[in-house]
């Protein structure tokens, strides 16, 4: 019977050589960290040499940080939901998500250091305009009158307090699930699973609220007069895109290196592909469309400026690229079951989605509301005036910063994984996951 055969190879399937990283990983970790360090130094050097202002440096930092953060937060979300639903199929892929989320224990540094630098140099208000109301009153008096009403929320001490809370919550949750899961590798008890299941509901609520308000504070408040109730959900959808794509990339690359053979199968890849398709592509598009359509249709001057900024000059092309690259094309590529089961196509789509998830964050953070918006006589005139606005995607600052943060993130993820098995080897539902088949 198939089952007897499966039992027989279980010992070779679960052998250390198959489910643990080789010693060679140490050098990869070192190289990743070197790339990360060099990337950050080079980004800073380039920024100073090319004379990028504090505002641009700060915003590129937010894009880059929110990109790696979205992978870690999406990993946290995936982990919590598996415990919340007592999922069986996902056990063999969960460790990767846990490792992404475990990065949250140090990633607060990537937030805290730049914020402190901005505060010390007095440039905080260049990035978060609400922190420098005097300047805002000069440049955008209309906006300033609106923003003045928000100072009870948008002020530096409260911002720091809230940010600390989000970072602490994420670090605690990421570390909690990583520790319980790896402890179980050693003791094999179901108590760890029960504990994780018990904390999952509180975890998901904390996750939801902290992610929402972090998106408000760190991204939405860059245009402090603008507001959208769905914005937190939008960032959540973006996290799903990044994290599910990053999980697929990691698992396919492990498979290519001869790891997890017979453990993570086409069945699991198909399911991860479904999740990427459903949450990272379709749900994202649904949320993005809801926000755009309602603001476009209602056409109120308080809120349309944010989209007008994204329809001017080079941003117009990036907006169109997102529509096709983040939704239409990957939708068509992934809608059938075959590309989800064939790792080459799945890897391609996942890598593609990572690129577009970064572009999406760039698109959220970087555009500036055109200066002449309030006084423009017509949309056409404004568009002509701003036809030359560039997205500055080619600016090496973007790529060096990305290299830096991703290098640190990859190095740290591998370092975290190196000491442990690549799957929760003694999870009580491991057998169910190994035997899992679609339909």
């Amino acid at each position: 019977m198939a089952h007897a055969a499966r039992k027989a190879d279980l010992s070779s399937t679960l052998a250390d050589a198959n489910i643990r990283l080789d010693g060679g990983v140490e050098s990869i970790v070192r190289n990743a960290w070197i790339v990360g360090g060099v990337g950050i130094v080079a980004a800073l050097a380039w920024a100073f040499l090319s004379g990028s202002g504090a505002e641009r440096i700060g915003r590129v930092w937010i894009v880059t940080y929110s990109f790696v953060l979205s992978i870690a937060l999406g990993g946290l979300f995936f982990t919590i939901v598996q415990h919340l639903t007592r999922a069986g199929w996902s056990v063999v892929v969960r460790r990767i998500a846990e490792a992404y989320a475990a990065n949250l224990r140090w990633m607060w540094l990537l937030f805290a250091v730049p914020v402190l630098l901005l505060l010390v140099t007095g440039k905080f208000g260049y990035v978060f305009p609400w922190a420098d109301l005097a300047h805002m009153r000069e440049v955008h008096p209309d906006e300033a009158t609106l923003v003045e009403k928000k100072t009870a929320y948008l002020n530096v001490p409260f911002f720091l307090l809230r940010s600390t809370a989000y970072l602490a919550i994420w670090a605690a949750l990421g570390w909690f699930f990583w520790r319980r899961s790896t402890e179980q590798d050693a003791d094999g008890g179901i108590a760890a699973t029960e504990r994780m299941q018990r904390w999952a509901p509180a975890g998901i609520i904390l996750f939801g609220l902290s992610t929402t308000f972090a998106a408000f504070d760190w991204i939405m408040s860059l245009n402090p007069a603008w507001f959208s109730t769905i914005f937190g959900v939008y960032f959540f959808a973006a996290s799903c895109t990044s994290a599910f794509a990053a999980m697929i990339v990691a698992l396919v690359l492990l498979e290519r290196r001869g790891k997890l053979v017979g453990v993570v199968t086409a069945e699991h890849f198909q399911d991860l592909g479904k999740l990427l398709f459903a949450f990272g592509i379709v749900f994202w598009a649904y949320i993005a469309f809801s926000q755009y359509m309602l603001i476009w249709y209602s056409n109120q001057p308080e809120t349309t400026g944010w989209y007008i900024a994204r329809q001017m000059g080079g941003w117009k092309w990036l907006s169109i690229a997102l529509l096709f690259g983040h939704f239409v094309i990957p939708f068509l590529l992934l809608v059938s079951k075959h590309p989800k089961r064939y790792t080459t196509t799945l890897l391609f789509v996942a890598a593609w989605m990572l690129v577009f998830s970064w572009l999406d964050l760039y698109w959220l953070v970087m555009p500036q509301i055109p200066e002449g918006l309030a006084t423009a006589t017509s949309y056409r005139a404004l568009a002509e005036e701003n036809a030359g606005v560039s997205t500055r995607l080619a600016d090496p600052l973007n790529w060096l910063a990305l290299l830096g943060f991703v290098g640190l993130f990859v190095g740290s993820t591998l370092r975290t994984l190196a000491g442990h098995a690549l799957i929760p080897v003694r999870d009580p539902r491991l057998a169910e996951s190994l035997a899992f088949e679609n339909m």
């Binding site: 069986g88 928000k150 699973t193 109730t229 309602l294 209602s298």
Partner: protein, 495 residues
């Protein structure tokens, strides 16, 4: 391995708690039925009994009476005009649209259970999907009534559709009200197809068991010549999967389009970007509450406790808790962003909701939708029959009031204080609303009596006996042995 059910002191007699699940084991979903035939007997018994239970007859007569009242109210409305409702100048939408949104929302649980839970491989859905889907159909019928009668001149209702005509008059394609016509009619069509296609094997079972000529012909006609051959099953599974995939976006799209009816406007309290997902979450919330409201008495009345077990009910209560929290999140976002926007109109709209002329409606909504569902955090309440029944009624009430609050408070106090007014429902408004419940329950009771209330074929597929080669359980050992346990022993191998 499976975790075995336990009889708990706090549960009523005959109730078995199968909500426990040790990690690594899976609880049994069908209790007390060891063979497929027993499931067939349990389910078919309901429609084959010579007489329905007395409660059914009384309930049916009462519902029929309410339906008659609905007919009278609609006739009175058409003959007299919309003046018989309490509408006034700023409040041109009130009970009619509240009822419409409420009923469309009720339908969503059925689609979620049949489509999304199917794609998520939630096996417990099989016990409840059939009547949840039936509920969807009947709820959409109730919903469809209201836009039709609210247009004033009902004899012009065909203008809702873009029909070519010699005057070349077309509906406004940019209006979400027209999108609603398409969204709801697509939803109804796909839901009906899904429900019917899923029912074909069970209709064939009823046909094969039928003893009377009428039953043989009626079920035979709708069973479409189903013989249960491999080819039939193959086609059936294919169709089912495709319909599930088609229905999934409908779960999101229908209520999103309903939310557009409000959110595309510029009215504070209506125009907010979170409306589409918020309405969807609210719809699933109210729909599941209605499923619990119906499932609790139905399983009691028709002896289905071993198929719709406490575990099924508990799972639904968890869905209610989750979606209730999402709705609470949306309320919080609306309130926060109204303040954060810095716009006095936005701020006024929300303060007016909580403390203005309809403050009581707002607090009913918050209490029933956000506060009381939190009791479902307690397992004792999640598994208590009375607890869940009462809480589900609260949710039904709360979700009706949610729509009332959104629609009426925003309209009654808009930008210009001189145009403010107060909406008071007339007796026609109230009786029409009640009558719609009558229509819904009439259809639902007829369904219970004449159609297979449980998807027998699907329930059988999740029983251990269907997986004798060992695919059933967590560790690869299915219920092969368990399937041979003495079928008369109620809790088979209880330790």
């Amino acid at each position: 391995m499976t975790t075995l059910p336990i009889e708990r002191a706090y549960l009523p007699s005959g109730e078995v708690d199968n909500t426990d699940e040790r990690p690594g084991e899976r609880a049994e979903l069908v209790l007390g039925h060891e063979t497929f035939h027993q499931v067939t007997e349990t389910v078919c018994r309901v429609t084959e009994a010579r007489r329905p239970p007395l409660v059914w007859t009384l309930g049916f007569l009462f519902s029929l009476m309410l339906t008659g009242m609905l007919g009278a109210m609609v006739t009175y409305l058409i003959v007299t005009g919309v003046g018989v409702w309490g509408l006034n100048n700023p409040v041109a939408w009130a009970f009619d649209i509240t009822n419409f949104v409420f009923w469309v929302g009720i339908g969503h649980a059925g689609t979620l259970i049949s489509a999304i839970l199917f794609l998520f491989r939630q096996k417990w859905r099989t016990a409840i999907n059939r009547f949840a889907e039936a509920m969807t159909i009947f709820a959409v019928i109730c919903a469809g009534l209201f836009p039709g009668i609210h247009i004033g001149r009902v004899w012009m209702a065909y203008y809702l559709f873009p029909l070519p005509n010699q005057m070349e008059m077309w509906p406004q394609f940019r209006s979400p009200l027209l999108w609603d016509v398409f969204a709801v009619s697509t939803y109804f069509t796909v839901s009906l197809l899904f429900w019917y296609v899923g029912m074909i094997p069970d209709l064939a079972t009823l046909r094969d068991r039928a003893t009377g000529r009428i039953r043989q012909i009626a079920y035979g006609l709708f069973a479409l010549g189903w013989r249960g051959s491999h080819r039939h099953w193959h086609r059936y599974e294919r169709a089912y999967l495709l319909l599930a995939a088609l229905s999934t976006p409908l779960v999101l799209s229908v209520h999103s389009v309903v939310s557009f009816d409000f959110a595309v406007s510029q009215l504070p309290g209506w125009h907010t970007t979170i409306f589409p997902p918020y309405f969807v979450a609210g719809a699933i919330f109210s729909g599941f509450a209605m499923v619990v409201t119906l499932a609790v008495p139905a399983r009691q009345l028709f002896g289905l406790k071993d198929i719709i077990t406490i575990r099924h009910l508990e799972n639904m209560n968890k869905v209610i808790l989750v979606t209730g929290c999402m709705v609470g999140y949306a309320y919080a976002m609306e309130f926060f962003i109204a303040w954060y926007s810095g716009s006095m109109y936005e701020q006024f709209a929300f303060i007016n909701r909580a403390f203005g002329q309809y403050w009581w409606a707002y607090w009913i909504m918050v209490s029933c939708n956000v506060l009381t569902p939190q009791l479902f955090w307690f397992r004792r309440i999640r598994t208590s029959i009375w607890g869940m029944f009462i809480l589900s009624l609260f949710v039904n009430v709360g979700m009706w009031f949610e729509r009332f609050v959104i629609i009426v408070t925003s309209l009654a106090n808009d930008f210009l204080p001189s145009s403010w007014d107060h909406f008071t429902p007339t007796w026609v408004d109230s009786l029409t609303m009640l009558g719609a419940f009558g229509l819904f329950f009439t259809l639902f009771l007829l369904f219970c009596r004449y159609l297979p209330m449980i998807a027998m074929a699907e329930v059988k597929a999740i029983m251990p006996a269907a997986h004798a080669d060992g695919h059933g359980g967590g560790d690869g050992h299915g219920g092969g042995e368990r399937a041979r346990v003495d079928p008369n022993a109620r809790d088979g191998g209880k330790p």
